[in-house]
Amino acid sequence: MRRQLPPEALDATDRKLLNHLQDGIEITAAPFTALARETGLTEAALLDRIARLREIGAITRFGPFLDAAAMGGAFCLCAMAVPEDRFEEVMTLVNAHAEVAHNYERQHRLNMWFVLACERAEGIASTAADIEAETGLTVHLFPKVQEFFIGFRVEA
């Protein structure tokens, strides 16, 4: 299971950075200047903190979030019922596909849930078919019909 950070791992400034940077930065030559001023840090100190947050595992990524659909592709949530004794083997086969953007183990008969992100919409069906052929297991496809967008963020 993943590691939970002790509460003292983050100070108030770290929490402020985590909350602010979830909303995204502007595309400007010096995108960290305003936030540095607001938090009373030098830019160098702010960037060191982001690097540290990444090192200790408080953040998984800091970069562009892409939308496959906007470039003519598609995302699709997929699920498989993987026998317990084959779980690691199947995980390795599934994760080897670059199209698998993330993958979670969940407690259910359908115990492996992953998202395919493909640059072309046809890639969803072909990647799912490849995974079925490699694993001998059914891939259930759950493409989104409608998304209800909200501005949720984790309050650190």
Binding site: R2, Q4, L66, A101, E105
Partner: protein, 161 residues
């Protein structure tokens, strides 16, 4: 939007993350032998077109104490699903909410709502709130707790392509 070969190089170069320097777009430009202005212009255009949703930080929910993460799933009458889905999506503790096709007979659920909390009892309480909101329009429900992140890289573009 059609992204060209240069756009693609920019997205590939930043797939692992933005360089952590005061002038990240100048740094990307150095990597790719472009000008800073061209990198910024291309990324701004991709953001305007929605190809880049945002340039942001992805928190690790679990590390930050949100140790209970459940995908709640609901079988909601089709004629009520869009309206009720919008209400569920507006709840402050729901991070993502989607309508998806059922996969019968294995999977009767069409509304998916991710609930995050610091404990399972907290998540169950929130799940109860959703159940009350849905009322009799909901015919069955379940919740799938995540027990392990197996991969989390975000979308990657094929090389060349």
């Amino acid at each position: 939007m059609n992204i060209d070969a240069t756009d693609r190089r920019i997205l590939q170069a930043t797939a692992g993350g933005l360089p952590l320097t005061p002038h990240p777009f100048a740094e990307i430009a150095r990597w790719l032998d472009l000008t800073e202005a061209e990198v910024m212009d291309r990324m701004a255009r991709m953001q305007a077109a929605g190809v880049i949703r945002r340039i942001a930080l992805a928190p690790n929910h679990y590390a930050l104490g949100m140790v209970a993460n459940g995908m709640s799933v609901w079988d909601v009458a089709d004629d009520r699903a869009a309206g009720l889905g919008a209400q569920v999506g507006a709840l402050p503790f729901v991070s993502h909410c989607y309508l998806r096709p059922r996969s019968l007979p294995d999977w009767p659920y069409n509304l998916f709502a991710m609930i995050h909390g610091t404990s399972r009892p907290e998540v169950e309480t929130k799940r109860g709130q959703i159940a009350r909101l849905l009322g009799p329009a909901c015919r069955a429900q379940d919740i799938l707790y995540s027990t392990r992140i197996l991969k989390k890289t975000g979308m990657r573009l094929a090389e060349g392509g």
